[in-house]
Symmetry: C2
Subunit: 141 residues, 2 copies
């Protein structure tokens, strides 16, 4: 691992589960520049000057209509993009308000049982962490 | 994992290794409020409005006198403190300038071979990640 000229950027993702052991996934638009049609945890880039926790709440609300509060850490992933290194910080969150509605960036949503994760086309950026986390949750239940 | 009233704060830690497979650890002051005398990776809290990568560079310089550049991701850890949940984001970094000098927060520094990590009194906050990372690096060599 040696330095290159790309900056490191921080993004946040929310892992939102319901009481039945299902996790919220949203599907990227088929017109997305990156990872079109893939299913992902809601979230996005931390804006300049923005607190990471505020960014998570903002992005989840923009993408899903839901209000959430952070409850813990899931893990972190490094994703190399064309112009930047992105550190994806994935946090567990619970719904504290709102109703689900999709933005233009995503086409649909689904509540996916942890055990079913391997059957979904998951976002390449962090599919390994998504599968590992889902497997561990699935084995807990 | 359910929400409580404590805010989530972000901190960053730098994992700096030399060409001989040794890693820089610094020892917290015996007068530190938390984890006195324990050995840790340099780093600290991200200030309000501050970019996480800038925070890493600033904290490492303040604590060690070294200038560093991020080279990758090591991992993330959740640490519950009395008034906040702290997410410790640990990043690998390389030295690009400076000479080592300690601030008042730390008493000494050491270049520790990966294989020797289990013999050191590591910072409780992230000792598991430190040991896991060191073991993996040690097995690589």
């Amino acid at each position: 691992m040696s330095q290159d000229s790309k900056p490191y950027k921080l993004a946040v993702k929310a892992v939102i589960a319901d009481e039945e052991g299902r996790c919220l996934l949203i599907r990227r638009s088929a017109r997305s520049r990156y990872f079109p049609g893939q299913w992902e945890w809601p979230g996005g880039k931390v804006d300049p000057g923005e607190d990471f926790a505020d960014a998570l709440v903002r992005e989840v609300h923009e993408e899903t209509g839901l209000s959430v509060a952070i409850t813990g850490l899931v893990g972190a992933v490094h994703s190399e993009m064309p112009t930047a290194h992105v550190i994806l910080l994935c946090l567990s969150a619970e719904i504290v308000g709102g109703e689900i509605r999709m933005s233009e960036e995503h086409e649909e949503y689904a509540w996916v049982p942890w055990a079913d994760f391997p059957q979904w086309e998951l976002a390449e950026q962090n599919s390994t962490l998504m599968l590992d986390w889902a497997r561990a949750r699935s084995e807990e239940s």
